[in-house]
Every structure is written in structure tokens, then in C-alpha cells.
Subunit: 161 residues, 4 copies
Amino acid sequence: MTTAERKRIEPLTRTKLPTAVWSTAVPIRFRHCDPAGIVFTPRYFDILNEAVEQFFGAALGLDYYLLISERKIGLGYAQASCEFLKPSRMGEVLDVAVLVERIGGSSYTLVLPVFKDGVEVVRGRLVTVTTMLEAFTSRPIPDDIRAGLEGYRDRCGEAIA
Amino acid sequence: MTTAERKRIEPLTRTKLPTAVWSTAVPIRFRHCDPAGIVFTPRYFDILNEAVEQFFGAALGLDYYLLISERKIGLGYAQASCEFLKPSRMGEVLDVAVLVERIGGSSYTLVLPVFKDGVEVVRGRLVTVTTMLEAFTSRPIPDDIRAGLEGYRDRCGEAIA
Amino acid sequence: MTTAERKRIEPLTRTKLPTAVWSTAVPIRFRHCDPAGIVFTPRYFDILNEAVEQFFGAALGLDYYLLISERKIGLGYAQASCEFLKPSRMGEVLDVAVLVERIGGSSYTLVLPVFKDGVEVVRGRLVTVTTMLEAFTSRPIPDDIRAGLEGYRDRCGEAIA
Amino acid sequence: MTTAERKRIEPLTRTKLPTAVWSTAVPIRFRHCDPAGIVFTPRYFDILNEAVEQFFGAALGLDYYLLISERKIGLGYAQASCEFLKPSRMGEVLDVAVLVERIGGSSYTLVLPVFKDGVEVVRGRLVTVTTMLEAFTSRPIPDDIRAGLEGYRDRCGEAIA
């Protein structure tokens, strides 16, 4: 990054996303907010992670919790980032969508646009590495996760140019 | 990003940072950790924000809390990101350093390398926009913050190539 | 409390509560859980507070957030406590009910039994003092909150002997 | 509890506690605070738990984290409660003390008075049950924890009448 001011992303419109895109409503609670009255940055990552947990069940048909507790598969992040376009306040309801950007050998990237009144206010990006828990070494993406992600990506098409 | 696997950053060594670089020790507590026994991703952003709060007082001579509560200056993020190189467990002690990467007109970028046993395990990057609270509109970086950041950056030199 | 072992409460059964009792489903997420794989104690208080926020809207017809942000009414706690009867794990779904135990002049007490599979696993108790925000001095319970709590209590009857 | 207003506890004075009482300074951070600008209730329980973690190391000579991760001893709560006497704001520094109230067969009770400027503003009480992790069944307090708690209690004397 240079000394030039950072270039902002163009906010997406919810209705322009493919209909196959899964999303979940997230009401902003008191606990999300800081003394400035808006959602505190780290809480957005709580919100994103929670959306991914639901996404696994609702869109991929996989129980996120059993993957970890029973199959000892780690779904940790190699990278997590957010762009913040507009602040949100308690009582508002956000809509968190999940898009599959990339499926690699032992990692995949999800993009999570967050909408308020249909306009994108936050964009998250999570690069997940599949690992063997306890050992904390990376492993190939398990077949059922790969099939789920590929199927979902195919259903959604090219969501973000 | 293409379908190629993501390129990882090269971990920094703490002792190679300029001596003027400020850092703070952060013991990993029970509350930071998840069922995999390691620090939960969103908690790293809590840790980074807390380091910035201390950095303002200790390195810039400015009270972060008065900026917000008295002067109604918002120090919200336009972008927040982390690269995770190695997991951390409760009982370990991290060392969070702060570097100034960019100072713009109404925003600045901090890079926060996090070390364990002297080797970088996490790298955070926070793009802060200075705003007027209540209005939530951006404003030029206040003079004392700018002077503080510039002085600190000068003392630290070019920390990351 | 003496040196005798603490006496445990008798767990309630969800179906034995009056039908007018309001409750909300709370799926346990990754972020709630600690390295022991169970809900971390402080997160239960997040869960209770969130249930109260919803209770205000759903059962009392009052917007919790407007009370605070617009009317500057504080709903802080003078006392908060929980009895923990059984641990809960991620992926499980709790059912958090709200009962009105006491309505005083400037404070009221809510009891929140939390059920798993219909049997009480946690019991929370929150003593709320109504205050004027900014001044942080107590004030009489606002009329609409009082009317809402009294109406709800009447509908529910004597829920806990 | 009757319909009478709740009786408040009498705030302790820090200097009147026995000199052997251990305590730790806790600066209030942005992340602790809510839209009312004060510490959010559930965060106090995070603060109490963190104080207990430090207390184990500093006052009992036991590594809290190894107890859990290596020896698989659970230190979960059967009961957790707080009385809130005064709100606290970001930038303030609290002093969290630990007192041993009771040592039973498989549980013990800690009282944690929290001071601001030497006067008690919060009083926490944590009833801990020692368990075998994985099984989540209670077990006798391990000998070294019992000896540590007894020694500490003896050094402190009768701290709270």
C-alpha cells in the first residue's frame, strides 16, 4: 500500500446476488456495540464466524460442530479481513451472505458481504485452512466439505466480478 | 485472488525490529480460547484494539479514551485484517508491536506484528479513519494524533520493507 | 454461607411453566465455548442479556434499544447471578425463558430459567435498576415498562413457587 | 426474595483488607464497555475469571492452564454472581482482590471485591466445582489446590465479616 488514500470497494446490492446465495439475518444486540454506539470491530468477526457455522449446516448440509468435536477437523483461519463501509447500531438487522471465492488443496476462501436495507455495509473475507486438530497441521480439504463448497459455488455462479 | 494457493508472509523476528518500536505483553487467557484450545480468531482483533489503546498512551502520549469520550473523535476502522501464521494457546505470552505504515489525510494504517518467543505468529493491519462521533463523518486526522504518529514513525524508521 | 456444601436448586421442567411464559431458542455457537468444549461462564450472561432484549420487544412490546438510545433510560444490573446445573456444548440449542419475580419502585427482578431438552440446566437472576443515563442515578421504573412487566407477570401467574 | 427493595451490601475499603490479600490491576478497555459508556455486565465475569487465573499462579503457585490442559481438571462454576455498586468507565483502573470464603469437599467459594480508588464498586462470588474434564463429573478438590487455598485463607484471616 502506498501513501495514497486507500481505495474503497463498491458496495454490492443484495437483490443483484444470485438467488442461490445463502444468507442469514443478524439482529444487532447490545453486546455487539461499543461506547460509540456502533458495532465494535472484533464483534463483526464473531458475526462472520457464526454465519459460517450456520452456512455449513444450511447450505452444505454439514454439521460444523461435529466436524470439530467428532472428526477433529480444524477450520481455522490463515487470514481474516473486513472492509467497513458503514457503521451499524443496536436494533438494526444485518443480512450476512456467504460466497465461495476459491477452493484450493487444503484451504478455501469465503467472501461474506453484509447488507443493511439491501446495501452492503461490510465485506468480510475468510481464508480457511483445513487442519488436523491436536496436530495443527494442514490436511487436504475433506471430500464432503469440498463437494459441498463446489456444489454451492456452482449453484451461485460468479457472484462477485 | 486466483485459484492458486495463497502466498504466506515471511515471519518477522522481534529482535530485528528497530529498538524504538513499542510493544506490549499479552498473556493468553482462558477467555481468548475456543474449543480447539487455541485463540479464537475474533479475539485477536480484541487483542489488537487493546494494544492500540495502550499504544496511544504509552507511545503517542495521548489518552485514547478521552479522545472518544471527551473530544468525540471516532477512531473506527475502514479495514481490519490479520494473517495467522501459528496458533497460540492459553498460558502463552504474546508480544504485540505497533508500526505506522501510512499517514493520510483522514486515515492512517497501523501494522501490528504479534510475536511468540520472538517470532511473528500473527500480523494485523488496521486502517483507521478519524471521524466525528455522532455524525460518523470522516474528518482530518487531529493535529496531535498526526504529530504523534509522525514522530513515532520517524523514531522507528522503515520497520517493514 | 457456611462451610456446608452449597444446596442445589431443583431443576424446572419446561412443560410445567405456564403457557404464557415467553422464551427464545439460543443455539450454542463456537464463540460461546471454551477450551473445555462447554459454554464459558461469562457467555451465559451475554445470552441472558440478549434474551432480555428480545423479551422487551416480543413480550412487553417495548423496543429495548430505543429505551437506551432515544429515551436515555439505563437498564443496568444491581445484581446478576447464575446457577449452573449442567454444562452445554456447541451445536446444542438452549431455550431461555423469562419470569418476573419482583417489581419494585426503581428496580425489578427477572428470573431466567434456561432449558435443554425441556429440563433446566441454568437459572439466571437479574436485578435491574432503572436509571437516567449520563447521570447514572436511579429513577422510578417508567410507566410503560412497569405496565408491561405487570401485565406479563399477571399472564404468567406464579411461575416459581 | 420478597417484594421489598433489595438490600445493598456495604462497600469494603481496600486498605482495610489484610495485607496478605492478593489483587490485580485491571484497566478498563474499550472492549469492556457498552453503548451506555460503562462496563457491560457480562464483561465483569470475564474480568473475574481472568483474575482467578492470575490468582492461581501468583498466590497459589499453580498454573491454571496446565490444570485444565494437562491434568484435565475442570474448574467450572456451580454459581456465579455479582453485586454492582457503581458503574465503571473506560480508562479507569479497577483493582480485583480474591478472598477464599469456603473450602468444601469438591467445591470452593471465592469472593472477589473489585475496587476503584480504594472503594468497592463490584463484589463477585464464584462457587467452583472441581470436575474431571471429558466426564464432567465432580471430583474431590485436588490436594495441591486445597493446600494452596487453605494456606492463602490462613494468611488472609477473616477478610469479610
